[in-house]
Symmetry: C2
């Protein structure tokens, strides 16, 4: 039995904490890593302040197999992630020739001046490996088990593709969702608890939903999600979920993942 | 000068870390608190595990004026937030008469059996004040500076309304967004840095955007966001942003908040 492979996520940016922007990178990273058998076990969202970034990166890189950060690696004054990660590791950071060559090539192709600010994007901590950015050129980097990515979701997605081959894979967690139309959580909670107790190898989650219909009526129900690395046991539990929903007077429906 | 009033947010739920659900509560809470002068300074997303919840709540309740948690207060086996918060404070938790009276009244109105599982929603830590739930009855609670709310966004929103009068207000941070159509971050980064240095009382953020147009062309630009509690200085900086965008050959446009 190999050790569990896990991920932590650090989302960096004042715009996330102010409510200006609704994050999508946590979901994107989690969905990307799931088929690789790497579950995200914690996420911290921090402001563009060095000590906050340092603390979050240091906490999670000790706790998780891998850490993924998003945001703060652009050319502007509020982009301080590279320097903060270098500080977290206690290593030197400076302009690196390999990163500068990428920027040079990228900007010369479009006749864009390589300003002092743009040169900052070639600042890479000592010992780090670069992460390719297929969208806007400026690279991210990997320092030990920490991957530093852009905040723009499309760029982060491209960087994940470059990172994937470097990751040790774990046991893939499979999920089955059975929707219990018409039932509230409380209608099935007792039966659900008994099922969970009988299957400690499966994680059962219960999520009520309220959908407003055309005309204003509210359609209620509860989604039951079973998760496990054991597909056989998962199927047994999924069938038991359908049975307990019927028993409680609801209408079970499997939802494709 | 009064002390700065701040908030921390703890989002609780495996479904957020698995990528099944994209969180909206951080944005909702931040946008609700902003007009009250209470900025969110950190957010942690944790799984439905007691030690993770305890650690996050304890870290943030010491660092922030207020902490808001969402998720894990329903009737099912995976709802362990109330017990975890009691443990974080080291206080006893048990079924409380005032909470039970609310459930009794709510469920008897709809002829719904008050099952063992539903009774769990009356478990409230000693010393906590209840938070009203206008959507489904079962209350949240306040223990010292920690507010425990539901995860369903509509219910969390209702609970925030009940909580608002209990909060000490701080200085409101105002924001102005000036969009720089056609400019990349690097085109204005040097000028932006100089403007930031000249106005340390204003926080300047720079956010590139890429919008796919009908037909497939990508419209690029950068949104510049200035934030300050001083509206006069903010207007000065907003005008300076418009000027530096024009200077760089872009088209400035203020975006209403």
């Amino acid at each position: 039995m190999s050790e569990r492979v896990t991920a932590g996520v650090v989302l960096i940016g004042d715009e996330l904490l102010s409510g200006r922007t609704r994050d999508i990178n946590l979901q994107q990273i989690a969905q990307f890593l799931a088929p690789l058998g790497i579950p995200v076990i914690e996420c911290r969202t921090v402001s563009d302040e060095e000590d906050h970034i340092v603390e979050a990166v240091n906490a999670l890189r000790r706790r998780c197999t891998y850490v993924f950060t998003t945001g703060g690696i652009g050319p502007t004054h509020d982009d301080i992630t590279a320097d903060s990660v270098a500080k977290a590791f206690g290593v030197h950071i400076g302009e690196r020739a390999d990163a500068m060559a990428i920027l040079d090539e990228w900007y010369s192709r479009t006749d864009t001046p390589l300003t002092e600010s743009r040169r900052r994007m070639a600042r890479i901590p000592d010992g780090a490996a670069l992460v390719a950015n297929p969208v806007t050129g400026a690279p991210g980097f990997q320092l030990e088990n920490v991957f530093v990515m852009a905040g723009v979701p499309k760029i982060a997605r491209g960087m994940l593709e470059d990172i994937a081959p470097r990751l040790t894979r774990g046991a893939v967690t499979h999920a089955v969702t059975v929707s219990a139309g018409g039932l509230r959580e409380g209608d099935i909670a007792d039966a659900l608890r008994a099922l969970q107790d009988a299957h400690p190898g499966v994680s059962l989650g219960s999520y009520p939903f309220f959908v407003e219909q055309p005309g204003g009526a509210i359609k209620r129900g509860t989604n039951l999600v079973a998760r496990s690395t054991d597909e056989g046991e998962l199927e047994t539990v999924a069938k038991a979920l359908e049975a307990l929903i019927l028993e409680a007077g609801g209408i079970p429906a499997r939802i494709a993942e």
